[in-house]
Structures are given as C-alpha cells and as structure tokens.
Symmetry: C2
Amino acid sequence: MLYEISEKAIRLRREGKKIIRFNMGDPDQQTPNEIIEAALKAMRKGKTKYASSAGEKELRERLAEIHDTSAENIIITPGSKWAIFSIMYLMLGDGGNVIILSPHWSAYELMAKSIGAEARFLRTSLDSDWKIDIDKLRELIDDKTRLIIFNNPNNPTSKVMDEKTVRGLVEIANDENVTILSDEVYAEISFVKVKSILDFEGNHIFVNSFSKTFAMTGWRIGYAVVNEELAQKMMKLNQITMTNVPVFIQHAALKALELRDEIAESMREAYWRRAKIACDILSKSKLEFTKPDAPFYLFPRYKNLDSETFAFQLLDRGVAVVPGTAFGGYREHFRISLTVSEEDIELGLKKICEAIS
Amino acid sequence: MLYEISEKAIRLRREGKKIIRFNMGDPDQQTPNEIIEAALKAMRKGKTKYASSAGEKELRERLAEIHDTSAENIIITPGSKWAIFSIMYLMLGDGGNVIILSPHWSAYELMAKSIGAEARFLRTSLDSDWKIDIDKLRELIDDKTRLIIFNNPNNPTSKVMDEKTVRGLVEIANDENVTILSDEVYAEISFVKVKSILDFEGNHIFVNSFSKTFAMTGWRIGYAVVNEELAQKMMKLNQITMTNVPVFIQHAALKALELRDEIAESMREAYWRRAKIACDILSKSKLEFTKPDAPFYLFPRYKNLDSETFAFQLLDRGVAVVPGTAFGGYREHFRISLTVSEEDIELGLKKICEAIS
C-alpha cells in the first residue's frame, strides 16, 4: 500500500495537480549561498581528488571541538544514513540483534533486514506521552543484543527524551554491555534542549548530519562519533565502498559549521512558527497528538483510522502524508512533515480536518 | 609492510622531501573547468535535495544511449567501487564464492573478505604475456560460484583482453550460469580498442566510472549496467545506505559526457606520451615488463626481487611505488603509476633503474 500511495502521488503531480507535500523529510529551504560558494572555491582549488576515508582532518578537528572529543573519534560519512548502516554492518554481522525504539524511521528496520540481523522493537504510545518503559527494554535484551538504536528528537513524533529517560537507557545499556546508537539529526534545531548521548558515560555512538540543520539533504554528508576501534573499522569499510565524501563537500560543511548558530536559529524559528500554526489548527480537530519538541513532524492519531486508506484518499484532496504503518505499525497515526510554507500548512491541515470530520 | 611503506611516504613528505608519486591511481590532471561550472550551475538551481537512489533520469538515459541499453538497466553510484561492493553484497550474501582474475585491484579481495565470501584467484603471469588459462578457470568454478570479476584494461598490468579471451570467458560463464562483472574504468582512455562485456550475450555486469577519463576521482561518481532485477535491488540498497549521488555531481557528469570525445582523446594522448617515455627508459634496464595497452600503469618484474623491501628502500631515493604483493602476491613485481609529469617520469624511472642495477 505504501508503494501505491507514492505512485499515486507521483501520477497526480505528473498530471499537473497541486499536492501539498506533508510527506517529505526534506526541508523546503535552499542551502545557504555561502555554503555553495565554499564548495565552489574548494573545487576551483582542486579539491577534487581521492582523499582520506575517515574524512578531512580540518573538518574532523572542528567537529571534535564542538563535541568535546578527539578527531580520531570522528568519521565523516555520505549522510548519517551511511554511518548507521556501516555501524550495523560492522556490529551485527555475527548474528547479533538490535533493539529499535518505536515508532521509528523505517531505514533502521530495513538496514537490519538487509544485513540479516534480528530487529526487536520497544514500542511507545501516544497514550503515555511516548514514554519509554525501561523495564520492557530490559526484557528485550539478551546475550546477542549488540545495539539499541533511537532517534532523539524522534522521527515521526518530534518528541525529545528527558534527561532521566536517557540516563535510564544508558544505565541499562552499560549494565548489559550493549552499545547505544543515538541518531540526533534533529537536535540542533530542536525547540527544547536535547540531552545528547555524548553527555553520558559509556561506549556509545552519536550520529549527526548536515542535512536538516543546513538544508543540505542532497549533499550527502554526516558523521559519527565513535570509539577509536570502531572508527578504524568504519574507515576501512569506507575505503572499500565509497572511498571518501568529496572534499569540496567537506569544505562546504566547514563553512556551514562557521555559520551554525545563525542558520540553526533561523531554521528553528521558522519551524517553531510552522509548528504553532499546525498545533492551533489540529487542536480544534478530532485528532489526538502531542505537541512537537522539535522540527519537523507531527504524528496525530484518529481512533480506528486505517491510515493507509486515509493517505491514499487524501491525495484526491491534494495532500500527501505518510501513514503510521511506515514507522512500525502505527495504523491509526499518520505523519505530517512541516516542510512546506505556512500558507500550505494552513491549507493542507484544513483539508485533513475536513477529511476526518 | 604495505602500511609501513605508506607511513614512511607520508613521513618523508611531511619532512618536506620531494617524493615522485608513482604509487597513486589518481590522475594528476585537474577536473576540466566546464565540469566544475556545470556543478555550480546545478547547485545554484537548487539541485541540492534528496533524489532518486537509482540516479537522475537524464544521466541514466544518456548513459543508456552510449551503451545501447535502457535507463532501467543503469544505476548511478558514488564511484564504481560502491557499484562493485553492492553487487558483491547482494550476490554473495548466501555463501556464494567469487573468482577474481589476478593480478587484481586489492579492493575486490577486501570486499569479498568484508562480506564473508570466499575469493578464488585465477593467476596470470608475465611469462605468458598475462594470458588467461580458460581451462583453469573452469576448474575453479563450482556450484557456489556466483561471480567472476576482472578489470579490463587491467590494473596493475594495463593489459587489454583480446576479443577471443573475453569470448572464452563469456562462454564458460554462460555454460556454468555464473555472472561476469567486468570493471572497465580504464577502457575509454585505452590505447587499443577494448571489447566490452556489453558486446556479448549473457546476463553480465558492466561497471564504469567518471574518475579516470575525466580526472574526477574525488567526485565519487560511477555506474553499473545490470539487468532490471539487480538494478532494483541496487536501488533499494542505495535507499538504505547512501540515498543518492548529489544531483549537482550528476549534472557535472552530464557535462563530462558532453565533452567526452575531446577529454578522453587528450587524456589518452597524454598517457600515450608518458607510456612511451617510460617504456623507452625501462627497456634499457634489467626490468621485464609488457608494454601497456592502456593507461596508466606499468607492472615490471625483477627476478628474485622482494618488492616490499624494494619499495620501502626506494622511498629514500624519493620515489614511491606499490609492491606487487598488493595485487595478489606478485612479490617480484611492482606497480608504477604514470600519473606524474613527463619530467618526473624520466627522473623517477632513472632512480628506479639505479636502484636495481
């Protein structure tokens, strides 16, 4: 059904029908010009050759400074997705299993499946404000559990874990000798402060991306902060797969970091306004939802909704959303991505409200 | 020892010593300006978003035209290396083995090892002009053999297979229901015509890159021509790993194809002159070698040489080469890469001749 929805959306757009794209995890903003110019400058300087599979030293040192670690712990990857895939590939190849906090970004599950690793899901629910049941997590862990993966802030709920929750997860992981992989790609533009996995003791993994903060999705650049042993393994895997992220793209990323505070603040403000508009409209509807702590998703529920049929039919009203089944079987939910203009948010959400009334 | 050689080279360069880098598979030429400008134009047009994991339709259609196939058979990858890795990952995951024609690019062997697949080697020798023994190949194949991989023209020998040899390989592969993966990244700038795997019947795989022909190594863009079923699988693997090659890089590649004849000819001519100079010098030495059919390597032999010790010591004379052990245990050989200026070729080869005399 997910396939049919996406096919229908493509067909309708081809026919020239306007579709409000609440289904995209891709910011509508353009990459800031200064970043593009930095890439160009590097290209013209000849930064178009093979390079280190760990990433450029200058970029790794700058990121190490930001995260209060050493450059040896940083690996630059073509998107955070490659970082996550390669870590799973390296850590789960021997029959290990992975616990994924759910609802979850579907890529985590598909990666585990591709690698042939068992994925176990720790479900959370809107009814308990997406609270994580630490005892249930303990039950899921066995001697083959190598990784616990979560996304903080979460896609699709936009929930940020409180400090106590992260601490609880870290304590169990440390007790059981399991590694946490915390995917924090929405953290820098979060509305509330995110307690990073890097603030805790233990042998855990932090993953980040330039995609969301800097509207650089298509540039394909992210990174992981890992221990030196894993960093070496990731570098060696990079050597026999994608070699290196183009150096001129790494120079663009360096420029992005230079402008970080300014860009992140303007992104955060824009998404905050959008979230406010969206919450105002949805709170007058029959949809249940939690207010987002971070950009850029809402994950409302409508009791007894079949979100796949709903998403398919909603396209006829010119609105695309992602059914909740794509995030681990949340059939009554659907995901709204606020990566469209304020006008389109108002228009699109009104159409959604009409559709469920 | 390979590690020590590379470390020593880095140390000497850091100390400011001039090293003639005969060890690099990276053209010394710069990416042509028109290609850089095409990337910039695409960036400014906003081609910086998520895109198809198969590659841009326009680029796939242009490549399909060149290779007389359909766009559905083309997958764009971040370098030909990723294409080869992902094909091995998809085809060898179930306990299959791969036959690699040797001497070989070390990445093939490292990929098989990483995936956990057995690699079998069909050795060729300078003594028989690197001729492939078709009967020996047949002996290596069993019911778990899924792939035969070769590089044509070959790195490190720069030998091009004659049509009869390719036909012989194809016939065995078709008989035994094994897929050939032909890595033809040096074919477009070859001195002699290369009979491509695509010119033969059978379910075989062609891999190519923009790196060598267009001096675009660091851009990370290549492609595979495969059947539609494998194309779908590769696209799905791309979706959960690196997402897409940056679209602006794909636009640069389109510009490269537009200038293809002109750039390839000038590259070929430059390497031809270099190869001639190198052969003239080496033919006066005690080194045995076959004349290159293509850019940009020479793989000479010196009887009873320990090429690792030789390469290590040669660095003190300011010349870096790769010992033959890196290509499948060819201890008496070493690889010279003609990716330096004509002056440096003369100078470097004279130092090599001195070292062995």
